[in-house]
Subunit: 211 residues, 2 copies
Amino acid sequence: MTESIACVFCNGVLSDRIEVLRWARQADLLIGADAGAGHLRSLGLCPHAIIGDMDSIGEDPWQGDATIERVVYPVRKDRSDTELAIEWAIAHGADHVWLFGANGGRFDHVLGHCALLLRYPGRVAVWEAGFWVQALGAGQKTEIRTRAGSVISVFPMSNRPRISLHGMEYNLSEQTLDYATHGLSNSVQQEDATIEVHEGVVLACVEGQMV
Amino acid sequence: MTESIACVFCNGVLSDRIEVLRWARQADLLIGADAGAGHLRSLGLCPHAIIGDMDSIGEDPWQGDATIERVVYPVRKDRSDTELAIEWAIAHGADHVWLFGANGGRFDHVLGHCALLLRYPGRVAVWEAGFWVQALGAGQKTEIRTRAGSVISVFPMSNRPRISLHGMEYNLSEQTLDYATHGLSNSVQQEDATIEVHEGVVLACVEGQMV
């Protein structure tokens, strides 16, 4: 059974637009998180939904088009527009949610996107300039479907996660990671390379294709 | 006793150069992490040390200047140039290390810088476009020395940290944070606003001055 994919466009910088368009065409749902909808417009795409407090979108570029669902929240709320967009996507059947335009904006928003990856390990991913970033939690094992030579980094996001890496330049076997840059700039050597998390949670950043 | 400050320049984007120069002038030590040294050059500053594997610096702009310490590491190493620069700063007496040019580059490097904040809670901070970002760990309480109205965000970086926030628009009393965007875009209301971490670790992102 094919899994359902939703793309959420955030209001950061959209790098490598041709590549983004290629990914977006595989999606079942396209969602603009507030002003992130402008990226969809600039790519010549039309969202299924626009979600957020609409404090930064300006004029709705699809005004009058009733086929687009608009979910408007108050400005005073305890979740970001991106978080609300992810929740909407999951409620509408998305198995995976890909975030675009999630980097290059304000650093607090970048960190907010990281917090969302950690909330949905293995399910929500950020695409940024050729790299996929997602969280992996205890019990999750993922096969890295990318070409040999691709750069891969793994960062501890909980106190001392325990992980294994196989098929890479630097492999690990049930090793504990401390907060540091030990996991930066590894590289994939085999097509069946894997990351396995035994305990804790990590953020994995892979060049090419992961999800 | 005045505390000693080191500035480390990384190889990301350097935003708001006039402000950066103002901070750098308060420092006791200026350090270039590999090609990050170029930012010092462009600001008209001279580093006390250049540290890294020198795989991206190109030609040394201070060639022949023996007053600058150059610490060259092999390319195959298990710590990033920024991590080595922080260690050098601390070994040379820095109480606090401020990172500049830490955002806007490759996402894996941005995450690597977050891992370094988590390694040194309350001691290493990132400055980025008007915001200070630092980790705070269990038992740390920090007074937010910034103007009322400043934006402040707090993100959980361990499993369910317990924190208190005082003097802000949305205060918390020993509340547990889940991975989510609940802590995004709070604002400082009083000059003696505080963040206190009772358990776990968070990243705090404050507009203006924190450290």
